[in-house]
Every structure is written in C-alpha cells, then in structure tokens.
C-alpha cells in the first residue's frame, strides 16, 4: 500500500512537476520580478534596488492619470460596442439558424485566429488619407478634401479594436445561449409573453454570464492594447499600453513601466470582479 502511494506521488510529480516548474519560472517569476521592479528606480541607466514608492507617485500625476482614464474610457467603449454588435450575432447563431450554424460559427471565429497586426494594418489602408473610405467619399462627391480624423484618432483605434475583439465577445455568449433550454423559452411564450418580453425577461437574464465573460474578454486586451493604438492612434490617441512599451523600449525606465503594468492588472482585476458580479444569473447566491 505504501509502495503504491509512493508510486502515485512519483507519477503525480512526473506529470505535474515539469509544467509547474515551467510556468513558475516563465510566468510567476517574471510577474514577481515586475512587482519588485515597480518599487525600485533607475539611476544613470542602472536599475537600483532602492525601495521607493516614487514610481507610483509619478503615476498619480495628471499626465499619467489622464492617459489611464482615456484608456479605460476607450476600453469600455470598445466593450460596449462589441456587446451591442455581437449580441445579435451570437443570438442568431445559437438560436435562429441550424442549416448554416457550423459555417457561420467558423466564419465568426476564424478572424480571431488571424494576426491582429494584419487586421490593424488593414485599417490603415481603409482609413488613410488616400484610403478606401476617403476615395469613396470623394468619388461620391461628399467631400472635396480627404477626411483627416479617420486615421490617427480615437475613432480609428476604437473601430479597429472592435473589429479585432468582437469575436471574443460572440464566442462565450454563443456557448451560453446555445445551452439555454428551449423548453424554458417555449414555456415563457406559452405563458403569453411576446417575443420581446420572452427575450427581455428570460433569454437576456439567462445569457448574462455569457455577456459578462464576453465583456471581460474584450476589456482585458483592449486595456493592454499596444499595437493598435501605436499604429492607428497617432499623436492624438495615446493609450497606456504605448506608454508602458515606451518605458521598456525607449526610456529604459523599467520600474515606472512595471508600476504602470501592475496598475493595469489591478484595473483588470476590478473590472473582472464587477463584470462577473453583474453577470451572475438572477437568483444565485452571491
């Protein structure tokens, strides 16, 4: 019996040891390093282990607070738009089509696996001064001079982020909607609830967990977006991701960049808690 127990432990170690070590070394340790760095500082291009809260104090300046605030606003806006755009699609896929379900589902998900760099770049072609949209507007005689706020603006960043992350919203919502018991919906209809009332009072509340997860899946990467604002944001639309990247790639201020990153993670954590609480199906215990 003891031998068997030992064998069990050996086998468990064989299976769980390597992945734990790997993730411990390449995920936990780096994140811990980042936390440490955020309390250190840089002197003459050298990182000094000099415990300080100065990096967090710098974050509290209007400059960085402003960028954080605008990033949160953009990320929330992207999340809301994704929800409005994506909900009907998920609903249609899950409940209204049988014949095209597979193909449509795959089509919705495929872009999610394509490079977001390429998808961002595509918007440069569309929104630029000589881009497709401006050419169309000028061709139709709607404007003489190219519309310049299309690219390098909050508009461009928001549009591209919606484009990139809307499948992230649709997928988890679809999974929830698909599992809804059709008998429940039938019953609601039989009880005299119209189509709308059934949707509002039965389907929508039951689908909230899916909405919450979808929102989170959109909010998280939008909050940390770097490639998209960097390429489409220009001078007028700075997001915190670019500022973080700058601390590591340009300013050599790892401590400040680390403090910013931890703050982003904290915001994500708060958002996750709020989203998931809001998404708890009615009637479940807290």
């Amino acid at each position: 019996m003891a031998a068997r127990k030992t064998r069990q432990i050996a086998a468990a170690t064989a299976f769980l040891g390597p992945p734990s070590l790997w993730i411990g070394a390449l995920f936990i340790l780096p994140m811990a390093t980042m936390a440490l760095l955020s309390f250190w500082r840089v002197v003459d291009y050298n990182i000094v282990a000099d415990w300080t809260l100065a990096n967090y104090e710098r974050l509290a300046r209007p400059l960085y607070l402003g960028i954080f605030w605008r990033t949160i606003k953009i990320a929330l806006l992207v999340t809301v738009i994704c929800a409005l755009v994506g909900y009907p699609v998920a609903y249609f896929l899950a409940r209204k089509t049988k014949r095209f379900q597979l193909i449509l589902l795959v089509l919705v998900i495929l872009p999610l696996w394509t490079s977001y760099l390429v998808r961002t770049y595509a918007w440069m072609l569309i929104l630029g001064t000589n881009g497709a949209v401006n050419q169309a507007l000028q061709g139709l005689g709607l404007t003489d001079t190219p519309v310049s706020w299309l690219l390098y603006s909050d508009f461009a960043v928001t549009l591209a982020l919606v484009h990139i992350y809307v499948p992230f919203f649709i997928l988890p919502l679809y999974a929830v909607l698909e599992k809804l018991d059709p008998r429940l919906l039938e019953a609601a209809k039989d009880l005299g609830g119209g189509r709308w009332r059934t949707f509002l009072h039965v389907t929508l509340p039951l689908s909230l967990p899916g909405v919450a997860t979808g929102c989170l899946f959109v909010f998280i990467p939008s909050m940390g977006a770097f490639v998209t604002p960097e390429l489409l944001g220009g001078a007028r639309s700075i997001m915190i991701g670019s500022v973080v990247a700058q601390q590591f790639g340009v300013a050599y201020d790892y401590p400040l960049g680390s403090a910013m990153s931890l703050t982003i993670l904290a915001i994500i954590l708060v958002a996750a808690t709020l989203f998931l609480r809001a998404g708890r199906p009615a009637g479940t215990a807290p």
Binding site: R7, A12, L26, K96, T114, L117, V118, V244, I264
Partner: protein, 268 residues
C-alpha cells in the same frame, strides 16, 4: 421549411453585415497584394504576382519565415507536452482542485500580452539570459500553455475513469495505461491544441517584440516594414499569414464544431 419571421431575417442580415465587417478588411489586403501598383489605393489596376515574387526573392522574408516556423514548431512541442501533462496530472491526481487549477492555469490568458512581454524582458534582464529565438519560444510556450491545458482538461472531463482503473486492476503499469488508453483518447484534443498553439505563436507580435534578439519572425518583419515604409510586399506577407492561420485554425474549428453540433443533435 417554415417561413422565417422578420426578426430572424433582421438578425440574419445583421450577422451577414458583421461578417462583412470582419472579413472585408482582410479581403482588401489580399486584393491589394495582387494589384499591379506600388501604392495600395483604388482603382485596382491589373492582376500581378510580382509582390509574391519579390517576397520569395527577399532574404529577410525567407529568414523570418524559417524563424517563424522554428518558433511555432518548438512552441507546439513545449506547450503541447506541458499542457497535456498538466491536464492529465490534474485530472488524475488532484481532481478536487480541478476547478481551482483550471482558473489558475488560465491566468496567463488574463494578462495582456504586452504585460507578459515586458515581465519576461525584465526577468531575462535581471537573471542575465541573452535574448534570442529561444527566449521567444519560452514566452510563446507560456502564451499557448493555458489553451492546451484547457482543451485537454475539457476532453478529460468526459473521460470514463473506470477504463483506467480496470486496466490497473489487470496489472497494467502506469506508463502502459498512459500510452495505451489515455493518449489515444486524448489524441484529438492534442491535435487541436497543437494547431492552436501553432497559430498563436505564428501570429504573436508583442511578446516577440520584447523578447527577441537580432532574429525576426514574420510578424516582426511586418511590424518593421510598417515603420520603415509601406510597400505592397506587406500585403503579400499579410495575406500569406492570414491564409496559414485560417487554414490551421479552420481545420481545427470545423472538426470541433461539427463533432459538437452532431453530438448536440444526437442528444436532443
């Protein structure tokens, strides 16, 4: 055939519109990649393959493609092996912690790639690991690991433990049980996980950006071309990467979805 209600038609139209929104930009890039003009604007002039030809002749592109394949290939191996081991290990030895560990293992998915990238950079710096394709592979394996783990775990949930127990009662060794029973059962999940890991790594930009040395992968070439001057060659590379990703993910998705849908229909 029953008649569709107007709301169904509206929803269908909306879905079609969203799909158009999702694909039109990619389609546009592909169209320009075949356009015989050195600037990516309308009107489309004539069909040409010259951007692909100039890519094929471009050494930086060929090197980057090779690097991307090496990195993605190695990521597949590491992420798949580790994710599978973790999935099987948790399922078999600590089933009670399954839910908690599943949330834990998906943590790297909850961290934006930007933060993962800089955390790795700071870490490599502090422990003096030189940046190279190897550090990129290590980073990508962390990105892909949770996907593999979750895919494998999900497969194991529906897996009847009595099979393994019966084999053990008959005196089969742990290794033998793994090879003869567990692995075959997991094969489809592993294949999916491998395809997904490949795609994740092949398209990865941000972690690569912070953790690579002097070697570039394809997305890094696109990134630097976007900054060093947009040529239609970008359209060609972009189109190629999209085609590769779609092919990989498409195969995985179609297989999965079809089996899921048929399973669901049978269950009804």
């Amino acid at each position: 055939m029953k008649a569709h209600s107007s709301s169904t038609i509206l929803l269908g139209l909306w879905t079609a519109f969203v799909l158009l929104f999702l694909f039109a930009p990619l389609f546009l890039v592909a169209v320009f990649s075949f356009n015989d003009s050195s600037i990516s604007v309308f009107p489309i002039r004539a069909f040409t393959l010259r951007w692909y030809e100039s890519l094929a002749a471009n050494e930086a592109f060929r090197t980057a493609l090779a690097n991307s394949l090496i990195v993605a290939g190695a990521t597949v191996v590491f992420a798949t092996l580790l994710g599978m081991a973790a999935g099987v290990g948790v399922h078999r030895y600590v089933p009670r912690l399954r839910t908690a560990l599943r949330s834990g293992a998906s943590l790297p998915m909850m961290v934006p790639h930007l933060i993962l990238g800089i955390a790795l950079l700071g870490f490599y710096n502090l422990v003096a690991i030189d940046l190279s394709l190897t550090t990129v592979i290590m980073g990508h394996s962390v990105v892909a690991f949770p996907y593999v783990f979750l895919i494998v775990s999900a497969r194991l949930v529906g897996f009847d433990p009595s099979l393994e127990e019966a084999a053990r009662d008959l005196g089969a060794s742990t290794a033998r049980i793994f090879w003869e029973i567990t692995l075959p059962l997991l094969a489809p999940a592993i294949l999916t996980a491998a395809l997904i890991s490949f795609t994740l790594s092949f398209d990865e930009v941000v972690v690569t950006f912070f953790t690579t040395g002097t070697d570039n992968t394809l997305p890094m070439v696109i990134w630097s071309m976007l900054r060093v001057g947009i040529t239609p060659e970008i359209n060609a590379i972009a189109t190629l990467t999209v085609v590769v990703s779609c092919a990989m993910a498409g195969v995985a998705e179609v297989i999965i979805r079809r089996s899921r849908l048929t399973a669901a229909k049978k269950g009804e």
